[in-house]
Symmetry: C2
Subunit: 336 residues, 2 copies
DNA sequence: CTGAAAGCGCTAACAC
DNA sequence: GTGTTAGCGCTTTCAG
């Protein structure tokens, strides 16, 4: 079915068209400095031979591939779970890359082995730049790439000293707006379900909560989840055990908030009458939960787009800001 | 931040280690025929210089990239929608590729421009092989790739004369088992919600339905959706308009079946008392619909894995079967 | 406007 | 075991 048919090279096209390799190269790459009749002859030869340029050869000399990687340090299962973050980032990135006529190469690194493979891939200059999203812990890869001159950017401030530019949102301000809203509504015991503490979004949102509560002299009531719906449901139970009288909970993601809502329903607490719930993300489904979720909106698609813009400028050698912090805002619905 | 720092080449490493390029190449590629002390010297030079092989150069001579593309001719939005097919395929493919230590590059082609870009990418030998899933209409790309000797496989029989090997399921048999189940339960008026008629899964499942009904001399009642939940809900309304007395419906995907369930609930029909519903896919959520969905299970992860196996053998030049048809089986739950 | 020639960085025979 | 050498297929000065 698939034969190892010899592929024609520039050389052969040139011979057939009766010109030099250089001329064929010019025509193939759309140079205008070639006489029309010759252009035509070359094009015909290309067509007849079914010539397709060898990208590796081209890359070797031009030092560019016109493709950009987006690496998600997660398993495929996780990336394709119901977490709305991944689709949002990918959509934003796709849109912007499309506009720049660059190929998006999506890579998932759920294991150490795949992380290594991606490292070789990116360090080997198989792409012109690399974007990271959903990073855990202190991944040395962005820094390593930057060190060898490979453009790299992150979504979410990298933990540790940021070695590459990043775009993130103002987590602390976002959480503050949520907590303030709860306080204004007269809530007394405000708990939180935090995200994983190896991710900056988890850490910052918890910090934001603590800070906001400290300002109003309340005590923190904390449970930690991992951004999945299930972990939210479980965390809510813990919270209820810890303080049966809590009357509000700020949840670090809508998915976890949905899980929390389920638990509250199961134990017979009314939302928002007994317990107010505020999520984070403003995921599509937050409008359809029962009751619809009050949540902190983050411009997730915009994050994807900004990453691309940053990366392309970096690749052009232009100076770029160290960080781009996008604003969030509270979307009030029925849950709190 | 990112400097265009000169990257060391084999040459420089060789000079520093006081050996030849060939020796460095051997060490880097793990050849055992190098004396241990020299190996050590080379490794040190590599480390000190931060040498990383240039993949384009390597590819140019070896003619391989160790990466494989999975192209999904859909927009990112669609790929990351709630359709469980994409995650399943990607998971199966990832697992198997991981085992083979190949890099997966995922490409989405939601527009004509991106389809073109992918064509250049694949034809240009940026990858060692290409897998296609979720194909619409008669895409010429798989055939074009095969023609230039680039290994390619599809999931789902390509429309038209298949130019490349493919793995698919036995749609007709799967549907037949569902319809037979309905018949055995004494259902009289069995309708169907078909999938899009530009996709083989849509076409075949409808054909299976027609065939099964013809055998039992019933009349067909057909509405067509596009595999989304929403289209299932709408199609169900049409069906009810067409034949208010229908007492069963075979739906070509679980997502559409879920939409149909919603419509039935809205118009006050009980499932399965008034109307039996059978879906297709055995998606995870089918267990949690109200009522839980009877459905035709297809081994979706296995499809992904088999695609990879086929592709790798193809790439090795081994002979492969034209098609691999995986079995389905009915999973009976409460809906019908 | 076109061609000749010099590599891009690497691997793989083939000598030594 | 290790080095020498000849390219892989392309772009890009530089002449003409």
């Amino acid at each position: 079915m698939t034969s190892a048919r010899e592929r024609p090279t520039l050389e052969e096209v040139a011979r057939r068209a009766g010109v030099s390799r250089a001329t064929v190269s010019r025509v193939v790459n759309g140079s205008t400095t070639v006489a029309p009749p010759i252009q035509e002859a070359v094009r015909r030869a290309v067509r007849e031979l079914g010539y397709v340029p060898n990208l590796a050869a081209r890359t070797l000399v031009t030092q560019r591939t016109d493709s950009i990687a987006l690496v998600l340090p997660e398993t495929a299962t996780r990336v394709f779970s119901d977490d709305p973050l991944f689709p949002g980032i990918v959509r934003g990135v796709s849109q912007e890359l499309e506009a720049a006529d660059r190929q998006l190469v999506l890579m998932m690194a759920g294991s150490a082995a795949s992380h290594d493979r991606i490292e070789r891939y990116a360090m080997g200059r198989h792409v012109d730049g690399v974007m990271f999203a959903s990073m855990h812990g202190m991944d040395p890869l962005p820094g390593a790439l930057a060190r060898i001159g490979m453009p790299a950017v992150c979504s979410g401030r990298p933990l540790g000293r940021p070695a590459v530019p990043y775009v993130d949102i103002d987590h602390v301000a976002g959480v503050a707006s949520a907590v303030r809203h709860l306080l204004d509504a007269g809530r007394q015991r405000i708990a939180t379900i935090a995200g994983p503490q190896d991710m900056v979004a988890g850490i910052e949102r918890l910090a934001g909560y603590r800070e906001a509560l400290r300002d109003s002299h309340r005590r923190s009531i904390v449970a930690v989840g991992d951004f999945t719906r299930e972990s939210g449901a479980i965390a809510m139970r813990h919270l209820l055990d810890d303080d049966p009288k809590l009357d509000a909970v700020f949840v670090a993601s809508d998915l976890m908030a949905d899980g929390a809502l389920r638990t509250l329903r199961e134990v017979g607490r009314r939302v928002p009458a007994d317990v107010a719930v505020i999520g984070f993300d403003d995921a599509e489904f937050a409008r359809y939960t029962d009751p619809p979720l009050t949540t902190v909106r983050q411009p997730i698609i915009e994050i994807g787009r900004e990453m691309v813009r940053l990366l392309l400028r970096l690749a052009e050698g232009e100076p770029v800001e160290e960080a781009l912090i996008l604003p969030t805002h509270l979307v009030v619905r029925d849950s709190g």
